[in-house]
Amino acid sequence: MQDDGENARFGMKDHFQLRFKAWRGFCVGVTGSIEQQGAFIMLVVEEVTKRYRMGDQEILALNRVSLTVDRAEMVAIVGASGSGKSTLMHILGCLDRPDSGRYVLNGRDVSRLLGDELARIRNREIGFVFQTFNLLPRMSALENVELPLLYAGHPAAKIEAAKALEQVGLASRMYHEPNQLSGGQRQRVAIARALVTNPSIILADEPTGNLDSKSSEEIMAVFQRLNREDGRTIIIVTHEQEIAAKCQRQIRIRDGQILS
């Protein structure tokens, strides 16, 4: 019953999206580029394919995937293990490039960019949160959060980093090193690091995968607050239905293809 209601809602949304796409298609026809239609749209993925070759066996990790995410949306990507969720996230996070298809982020086609340009986009426009936290050991929480700003050449990295840690409720743990923090706290440091550059979008690949339910809820609360109060665009990959339910939209993926 509840499920039906949700489907109905997503159905509505899909309908809206289809119309929106059509409208965008029209605009592309008029202006020659969808890059100029960026007012509401955070990112557009079109017909993206990614293959992995293992010996002479080829795995189609992503099979002509298309999706659109609006600004200030909070989206969940769900699907079975091995369905291609992480592969998609890596492409969305500019950590990897698609074999074919287009990826337009923030009005700019980034699917053909090379190393340094991608690094710049990862640095300025994307905040990535990993399942395994991926904090640098032997560096304080503050130094970890500072890192993206240092690569950006930010003049007041320390101050900004401290602010970001405050936002995730870790002002009192700034000088702790990762191994002196709990799993939930580590993930909050990672979130602070993801949002410190004020990116357009935060991508989180199973951010609660290594956490107990209480910490998971805390982390989700942080994401929800960032989405509602600051209007940040957030994409979360998850296995857990409760987590997915907290997002405005769910994208289901199976065998490298988007179901809904």
């Binding site: 890596h90 996070g93 950590l95 990897d96 190393g115 340094d116 690094a119 710049r120 990862r122 640095n123 300025r124 990535f128 990993f130 991926n134 904090l135 640098l136 032997r138 560096m139 890192l147 993206p148 240092l150 690569y151 950006a152 050449g153 690091r193 550059t197």
Partner: protein
């Protein structure tokens, strides 16, 4: 990224692997230490040789009678070097500033109950300036006194100590082979020169030495001082021509004398020390090179070990060049620290050599600077390949690395 952050990060990661970092720098430490010590040894030897040779006199040339029957078992020197030869050279070769006939021998010297055998040098007054002999007290004999065959002597400091036990020798009369000689001068200490000791001798007028003491009508040699700035080779040719004429030696016959310039001696000795220095320095540089390979090895391990860190940094927006810079900086820092310790080690070795072998090494600051910067260059050079490997990691694969 800020250089300060870079330093901090590098120092931290070096400190986290203290033992490994130390082992990595060991090669550089030994290399730099060895290079500095070897060069200091060579420079010290060079300085010592230069000092010794120039204390013999500047622009010195030494003419000695040749060996008779060069192939024979017995060889004695020719006794045909005459005073007239010296005069001819002085008149016909204007590049010769001054010269002095030299008679060498030894005699029994007595003063009160002291009795010892002392080397005797018969010479002209010019000998003192040609050979750089300065007087502590008194005066040398004059030209007039030389013509009169005066029995006057200038005494070496060590001989004076032996005979007079610290009292002033001036004005004292000593017996040399039974003849009375008055001491009118005391030489300044010059220091042992290895092949002969200038502090142990009596210098007397050559006329007195020839006619009264040894009864000779030929010379033991001629010491010449040539003018500054003239080519010693040219002067040698001219003197040789004069001597051929004097001794009537046809152009195709061998000479009956030898003529050596101090510049030549210095050059030969210096080229020997230079070759030795280069050899030793070269061997030491090889260890510096081996040290570089050690750094490369450690850096490759480090890069592999920190693959995940590289992935994280790239995910956060580090460009390839940021990663390259970080690891390059680290390897340079390792070798700089190694170079610093190596400099200290090298200086330490020099002190050790000086105190154990009573030799004085000479540490040239420029060589220290060169060895130090070379070590930094070694670190940068050998760190480049590992750093490049780090920089070229694919972010996804690096993040997946366990």
């Amino acid at each position: 990224m800020l250089i300060l952050t870079l330093i901090k990060v590098s120092l931290k990661s070096l400190w986290a692997n203290k033992m490994r970092s130390f082992l990595a720098t060991l090669g550089i430490i030994i290399g730099v230490g060895a290079v500095i010590a070897m060069l200091a040894l060579g420079e010290g030897a060079k300085r010592q040789i230069t000092q010794k040779v120039s204390s013999l006199g500047s622009n010195l040339m030494i003419l000695r009678p040749g060996q008779k029957g060069s192939r024979g078992v017995q060889s004695s020197t020719y006794d045909n070097l005459k005073l007239e030869d010296a005069e001819a050279i002085l008149h016909k070769v204007p590049e010769v500033l001054q010269l002095s006939p030299v008679i060498r021998g030894s005699a029994q010297v007595k003063y009160l109950n002291q009795n010892t055998r002392v080397p005797i040098t018969g010479a002209a007054v010019t000998y003192f300036s040609i050979r750089n002999f300065a007087l502590q007290h008194g005066r040398p004999f004059t030209d007039a006194e030389t013509r009169e065959q005066a029995r006057l002597a200038v005494i070496g400091s060590q001989t004076a100590d032996d005979l007079f036990k610290g009292r002033s020798p001036l004005g004292k009369v000593i017996k040399v082979n039974g003849l009375n000689f008055k001491i009118i001068g005391l030489l300044k200490v010059k220091g042992d020169e290895g092949w002969y000791n200038p502090d142990n001798q009596l210098i007397i007028p050559y006329t007195t030495a020839m006619k009264q003491l040894f009864g000779l009508d030929y010379l033991g040699g001629i010491d010449l001082q040539i003018k500054k700035g003239v080519d010693p080779e040219e002067v040698k040719k001219k003197i040789t021509a004069v001597m051929r004429h004097q001794h009537r030696i046809p152009a195709d016959m061998p000479l009956d004398f030898t003529l050596q310039s101090q510049a030549e001696v210095l050059e030969t000795l210096n080229s020997i020390t230079l070759a030795l220095t280069l050899l030793l320095g070269g061997i030491a540089s090889i260890s510096l090179l081996v040290g570089g390979i050690g750094i490369m090895n450690i850096m490759l391990v480090t890069v592999t070990e920190r693959t995940r860190e590289i992935g994280i940094r790239k995910a956060l927006g580090a460009r390839n060049r940021d990663i390259l810079r970080q690891f390059l900086f680290e390897s340079t820092l390792i070798s700089l620290i190694g170079g610093g310790i190596g400099v200290a080690l090298g200086i330490g070795i020099c002190y050790l050599i000086d105190s154990i072998f009573s030799f004085s090494t000479l540490i040239q600051p420029t060589y220290v600077a060169i060895a130090f910067s070379f070590s930094a260059a070694v670190g940068t050079f050998f760190g480049f390949y590992p750093a490049l490997r780090a920089a070229r990691q694919d972010p996804i694969e690096a993040l997946r690395y366990e």
